[in-house]
């Protein structure tokens, strides 16, 4: 209650019942402390490459300050489709199969709201990014969680889908490369689940925002798997691959009948994605390949350093093949995820995110981000090692 108004009466119960994100909590405590080394942030530490920023600035200088077409600038949609063809070998039509959105997040929300409704079930593999479950609920459908397992390196198996699929299941979310585990689905892993998807006549929302941050092998898009393009909405964007988080630009690719409905929703809810960001994104797609490689090489070095260090201090950590997170198991310390994160923060001033913030099956793990400089990571690892040694 606030004054004489009973706001509770007015507010939507679905949003009221949605829990706040568990990632925030530790970040907020850490922000209040001195001498904190954080490994909790989930965005690139690089700034957007200069030529991309400059293109954004130039578009402003030229007075490009109006709305763009609802779907996004035509040239940008052409470049997105060209990129997807050269990178993943999948062809989309820029006029009918492509929608430029405000970050990948809008595309996820839009796809869910255009596909599911009351009575539908959505399969969500966890641990995964925190948005899928609440957005499914807000779209009126029922989230059904699939708990992926550490022994499978958190990959999704056909058996796990079969276990949870019902006749109400309409949509499967594929969050790979995965935040928070760093897990990646190889071509054969995708091929293994394709028949199940076909058998149960499911649609797939494949969140491939981290695809460019794949290590050791080339990334695979789920849409490139035989027979799956027709069933798949690809969500991707510029935030992670080009270090463009603040520009808020993503896109959805998929079958025309779905994209056209999403475009309608986008038209009424958003109108068009930020114009400056769209001009910058054209430059990114045309001339940004080497930036992607350089950043990926840097992440890759940090990834190796951090994985080896966790394993050598006795926190077992599988080698993640994507994104910029590692997901070490902390069960050997006898502490729970939250207890571990909280004690580490209080005693050594190192902030990590408890694994259960990404689903109950993340319990026993913590998410450690390596989108930090090597010097920063080294200092954090030194403190974590001291923390582990003191526990024993």
């Amino acid at each position: 209650m606030c004054g004489i108004m009973d706001y509770d009466y007015f507010l939507n119960s679905k949003i009221k019942n949605t829990k706040p994100s568990g990632i925030r909590k530790f970040f907020d405590i850490a922000n209040e402390m001195d001498n904190v080394i954080s490994l909790s942030i989930g965005e690139p530490d690089f700034q957007t490459p200069w030529h991309i920023r400059e293109t954004g600035i130039k578009s402003l200088e030229k007075g490009k300050t109006w709305y763009t077409p609802n779907r996004g600038l035509s040239q940008l949609r052409v470049e997105i489709c060209k990129y997807f063809k050269r990178r993943f070998g999948v062809e989309y039509h820029p006029d009918t199969d492509t929608l430029v959105t405000v970050g990948g997040s809008e595309a996820i929300d839009g796809a869910l709201r255009c596909i599911v409704e009351q009575g539908d079930e959505v399969l969500i593999p966890q641990p995964s990014f925190v948005c899928y479950e609440p957005l499914t609920v807000m779209a009126g459908a029922t989230p059904v969680i699939i708990e992926t397992k550490a022994e499978n390196e958190f990959r999704l198996t056909p058996e796990e889908i079969e276990e949870k699929v019902t006749e109400k299941t309409k949509l499967l979310i594929l969050p790979y490369p995965n935040n928070p585990t760093g897990a990646s689905m190889r071509k054969e892993d995708y091929e293994a689940i394709a028949p199940v998807i076909e058998k149960h006549n499911l649609l797939v929302l494949s969140d491939e925002i981290y695809a460019e941050l794949s290590y050791g092998s080339e990334p695979v898009s789920f849409a490139s798997i035989k027979g799956m393009k027709e069933r798949t909405i690809i969500v991707s964007g510029f935030s992670k691959s080009y270090a463009m988080t603040g520009w808020r630009l993503g896109y959805a690719l998929g079958p025309e009948p779905i994209i056209s409905q999403m475009t309608k929703l986008h038209q009424y809810a958003i109108m068009s994605a930020p114009t400056t960001a769209q001009y910058a994104a054209i430059e990114a797609l045309q001339n940004g390949d080497s930036d992607i490689h350089e950043m990926r090489d840097q992440y890759d070095m940090r990834r190796r350093l951090i994985v080896d260090s966790f394993n050598s201090m006795g926190l077992s950590c599988f080698e993640p093949k994507g994104a910029f997170y590692v997901f070490p198991c902390i069960m050997s310390t006898g502490l729970g995820s939250e207890e571990f994160a909280s004690k580490l923060l209080m005693s050594k001033h190192v902030a990590v995110v408890p694994g259960n913030a990404f689903g109950d099956c993340g319990e026993g793990f913590v998410r450690v981000s390596y989108s930090y400089s090597v010097a920063h990571i080294k200092e954090a690892l030194k403190r974590i090692k001291a923390f582990i040694d003191e526990l024993q």
Partner: protein, 161 residues
Amino acid sequence: MKNRLLELLQDNCKFTDQELASMLNTTPEEIRKQIADFENSGVICGYKALINWEKVPGSDVRALIELKVTPKRDKGFDEIAQRVMAFDEVEGVYLMAGDYDLAVFVKGDTIQEIAMFVAKRLSPLDSVLSASTHFILTKYKSNMVDMQNLSSDKDERECVV
């Protein structure tokens, strides 16, 4: 072709062999071998601390001296460069293309000391035609390091979810 090992060492030569091996996906033995090769071939010339002398109380003065010189027959600029290098006051010598020939970095306790060094020792050398002295006021960036810590290293990223 980039050499990641050299880049890493240039960034921080105190990485352990194990850390370097992890980052470069090889073994500590291989790292030691590569470093030894670089040392033997003179690619790696030494390992020194980067010191910001401006922060050391009572520290010295530094100057850049532009020298115009006459190259010697057969020896070119090497002979005069070698003479200049030999002075303890001289920290660095570069052969330049442009308005002058040698860029000489010099340190001294005071401005007077440097002025006297240029006047009495450098200028009188046989091949030196002219010397023009520029005193260094502040080092902003040296050896890839922001010496004044001007670029804030505060992490401005927010936790948004």
